[in-house]
């Protein structure tokens, strides 16, 4: 059993999850703040 395959799988999973979590939260924040700012200017 190649132990590195398990190590890489675990790190890849955490990497993808972190990128998704940070990316989605950032885009949601930027979108919501831009909409609120645009409504304020109107």
């Amino acid at each position: 059993m190649n132990q590195w395959a398990f190590v890489i799988a675990a790190y890849a999973l955490v990497g993808v999850a972190m990128a998704g979590l940070v990316g989605m939260s950032f885009l949601a924040m930027r979108g919501a703040e831009a909409k609120a700012e645009a409504a304020k200017r109107r």
Partner: protein, 239 residues
């Protein structure tokens, strides 16, 4: 804490803090992961699978810390009706659920080559799985309550009751001595892990914690902006 009950005051701190926490967190995680994958030696017994420890332990810590924070926000909501408490609870839940899921997944990936099984109905594993389901219940309840225009008290009660699971997770390795090993690191008793293997762990612990805080702040900022927009739309519709 009540000084930050005003969302404007909270945002004044949260805006710069988000970037700093994310930057510091990413840097610490990168150094910790590099150390864990490329610098530390393999364990004499577990071999290279010990490297999963550097991402598994922070995931477990943040899965539990996330719910402890929800419980603190719940107390703040029920006792003091803090206006940001329900916002914080809703922002924390998906982040905590992600880390609880990562804890279960990385533990399972570690378990296959080490224990010879992906899953066992062991006390620690089962109580952690229950925590993940509690997160899902909280997310569903809090969003349903928000859609109905509720003040978040039901979700706060659920958050408080669910905190009973935290000591169960912590002491599960002492109460039910099954497959999951006992505590390797404690605040009072030091560590049973060799120093040359241990050093990347504090880096990933602090790094992931900073990322957790940054993501929670981002989600709180998004929700506050949405609330502001909804209030503005309601006002202009009424005029």
């Amino acid at each position: 804490m009540h000084g930050y009950a005003n969302p404007a005051r909270f945002l004044k701190i949260a805006r710069p803090a988000t970037g700093w926490l994310l930057g510091i967190g990413a840097l610490l995680v990168l150094v910790g992961v590099y150390g864990g994958l490329a610098v530390t030696p393999p364990d004499y017994l577990q071999g290279d699978t010990v490297r999963i420890l550097y991402i598994h332990v922070p995931s477990a810590w943040l899965g539990m810390a996330g719910w402890a924070s929800i419980a603190a926000a719940s107390i703040s909501q029920i006792v003091w009706r803090h206006p940001l408490a329900s916002v914080a609870g809703r922002a924390l839940a998906p982040v905590g659920a992600t880390f609880a899921a990562l804890c279960l997944a990385t533990g399972s990936i570690w378990g296959r080559p080490t224990w010879g099984t992906w899953w066992e109905w062991d006390g620690r594993l089962t109580s952690m799985l229950i925590l993940f389901f509690l997160y899902l219940g909280y997310i569903a309840l809090a969003s349903a309550e928000r859609e109905r225009g509720g003040d978040g008290r039901m979700a706060a009660l659920f958050g408080l009751v669910g905190a009973i699971n935290l000591p169960i997770i912590h002491y599960s390795v002492l109460w039910w001595r099954t497959l999951h090993q006992g505590q390797s690191i404690s605040v009072s008793g030091g560590s049973s892990i060799a120093p040359e293997l241990l050093w990347p762990l504090p880096l990933t612990m602090v790094g992931f914690t900073a990322i957790f805080a940054a993501v929670t702040l981002m989600r709180m900022r998004a929700e506050l902006a949405r609330t502001k927009l909804e209030a503005r739309l309601r006002r202009s519709a009424a005029e």
